[in-house]
């Protein structure tokens, strides 16, 4: 059966043999079109927002969106309480910074290396948590994040310690001047990163490997009894969530041109976690939408000073109380577009 036939079959409410989509899950072709439209709209934004400040906010939205949506893979889909996710971002930041500044590596290659470093770190932290559950996973992964930070602080000769690193080499696009284009090029690099990351994440969660990590989350013993390897799928989950997180860290370092251990702090972790939860876990898109909402909201309230985080916190509480499924759940019930549930023919 061809892919086209499969999609048509799903639209006719799945006769036997076709693979129906999950509850509230769009057929892949329809999702691809929706995704394309969404990203096309984002790609037009620099023509609306021509000032570098607005573009800066959008670039930060894209970086946060990548980090938050990848966290949703391990936390929302996999149910693994990986509180070291932000450390993977930080590892991307420092891998890029050290490789370009000290080793003189090409920035683009260093960006990929930032992703690979995060994957290696994710595998290393997965091994000790394989036999752990719940709060113990939080302890170990949180400890891992602190450990990475302490190592970076202690190696101040290379990393600048608590002072951080400055004048980090940045990305280049042929001979294009990256500084005097009001962040035009950075915008599209950041958007490209978000597109690649999102396509990867959605393809992964729709694959059999992606479904199996939800099976493990729902019932570990039952999943194992069906031949699913806990060790293998946990490693895949964490590694898959690490790559674009690390690349986002590398891009962040290239964009800001400095690195500091603040990226390992609770403040950033809290912001990103709010995005994952506010957006609605186990959706990927929710985290992306929430990154947009929270960042723009926070910028819009810049005049409120110290009130800002408090207003944000209240907003999160209100949304979560009204819609436990987060913003994505709110959109679902508002539009009904995403919730085309199976209903037997009447």
């Amino acid at each position: 059966m061809s892919a086209a036939e499969l999609t048509d079959a799903q639209d006719r409410r799945a006769p036997a043999g076709a693979a129906p989509v999950g509850p509230g899950r769009l057929p892949w072709r329809r999702e691809a079109v929706a995704m394309l439209v969404g990203f096309a709209v984002l790609a037009l934004l620099p023509f609306v927002f021509t000032d570098s400040y607005s573009r800066h906010v959008l670039i930060m939205v894209f970086i946060y969106a990548v980090v938050a949506s990848n966290w949703d893979l391990s936390l929302g889909y996999g149910g693994v309480f990986n509180f070291g996710h932000i450390a993977l971002f930080g590892i991307g930041v420092y891998a890029y910074s050290l490789l370009t500044k000290l080793a003189g590596m090409d920035p683009w290659i260093a960006m990929a290396a930032g992703g690979v470093s995060a994957v290696v770190a994710a595998v290393a932290v997965t091994i000790p948590i394989l036999r752990l559950k719940g709060i113990y996973i939080i302890l170990v992964t949180f400890g891992f994040a602190q450990l990475v930070m302490q190592v970076i602080i202690s190696q101040s000769e290379y990393t600048g310690g608590t002072q951080g690193l400055v004048r980090i080499p940045t990305l280049y696009v042929f001979d294009h001047n990256m500084v005097r284009d009001a962040k035009f090029a950075y915008f599209y690099i950041a958007l490209g990163l978000l597109v690649l990351s999102t396509v990867f994440l959605r393809a992964f969660v729709r694959s059999r490997a992606g479904i199996s990590i939800v099976a493990l989350r729902d019932n570990e013993e039952y999943a194992v009894s069906r031949g699913i390897s806990l060790v293998r799928q946990r490693l895949i989950t964490l590694a898959a969530s690490a790559f674009f997180t690390g690349v986002a860290g590398a891009f962040y370092a290239a964009y800001q041109r400095n690195a500091s251990v603040e990226v390992f702090g609770m403040s950033l972790a809290t912001i990103i976690l709010s995005m994952v939860l506010l957006g609605g876990t186990g959706t990927i898109y929710g985290a992306i939408i929430a990154a947009f909402v929270l960042t723009v909201f926070s910028e819009a309230m810049a005049d409120f000073g110290a009130w800002r985080p408090m207003i944000t916190a209240v907003l999160i509480l209100v949304v979560m109380l009204a819609y436990p499924g987060g913003i994505f759940g709110m959109l679902k019930s508002a539009t009904g577009v995403f919730s085309r549930r199976w209903s037997p023919p009447s």
Binding site: A16, G22, P23, I211, A215, N219
Partner: protein
């Protein structure tokens, strides 16, 4: 050669010997029943055979000649030894179809995508969960449907042997009759069945061999009619006349 062979299998929790030196053989193609009062070690026996969540402390478990005690659960499953659980179990966050797809994708057959989809659909139809149920969230199903789904995910694995842990528990009389029929049809597919149940009539109508466990040890083993008329079995289930008087 027997398909499944246990020799001196034991499992203790502290001082409690849940399974104590159990040995028996299951021949390929038969339905083998295991009975016993509550707490006699039936479910623990299934756990140590399948390695989910733990293997035995002592003794050997041979499946088709391969010693599997100490193997991880998913490897035992892939060898062709599938099990169900006493409580109706499902992946609630997934659809009915995705539940079965997990069995066909990761089980003994471990098939490529298209074949796995086909095997999943076939297994679901086989247990009576037709295409109209495929897109439903598994969490929405009734108790009986969830039990059927659990069986379908096991059949989708294309196992050689299936361990059924109290398939009749919390079912109504008509549902129990459907289950008996379904288990017969499953056996007719060439799947050897090891069946735990404490409803004796259920076991009597299905099994070719019956083993009775009591306090972790084998109390009786043989042809079902002979086993249930054994005085020791009657005593384990009902107590002695003297005690009752």
């Amino acid at each position: 050669m027997a398909l499944l062979e246990l020799d001196g299998v034991s499992k203790a929790f502290g001082s409690l010997k849940a399974v104590d030196g159990v040995s028996f053989k299951v021949e390929a193609g038969e339905i083998f029943g295991i009975a016993g009062p509550n707490g006699s070690g039936k479910s623990t026996l299934f756990n140590v055979i399948t390695g989910i969540p733990f293997g035995p402390d002592r003794g050997t478990v041979r499946f088709d000649g391969t010693e599997i005690q100490g193997w991880r659960g998913h490897r035992i499953a892939r060898l062709g030894l599938a099990r169900t659980f006493q409580r109706e179990t499902s992946f609630d966050g997934l659809t009915v179809f995705e539940n079965a797809l997990m069995g066909s994708s990761f089980g003994a057959a471990s098939q490529p995508a298209a074949a796995a989809r086909e095997a999943a659909a076939e297994a679901l139809e086989f247990v009576g969960l037709g295409a109209e149920n495929f897109g439903r969230p598994a969490g929405e199903l009734s108790v009986f449907q969830r039990k059927c789904l659990m069986l379908a995910t096991a059949i989708a694995m294309k196992p050689r042997m299936l361990l059924l842990d109290e398939p009749a528990s919390s079912l109504t009389k008509p549902e129990i009759d459907s289950s008996i029929e379904l288990i017969r049809r499953t056996a007719a597919r060439g799947i050897t069945i090891l069946l735990i149940e404490h409803v004796l009539t259920f076991l009597m109508s299905l099994s070719q061999h019956l083993l009775v466990l009591n306090q972790g040890t084998v109390l009786a083993l043989g042809e079902p009619r002979a086993v249930i008329s054994d005085a020791r079995v009657v005593e384990a289930y009902l107590g002695t006349r003297r005690a009752a008087a």
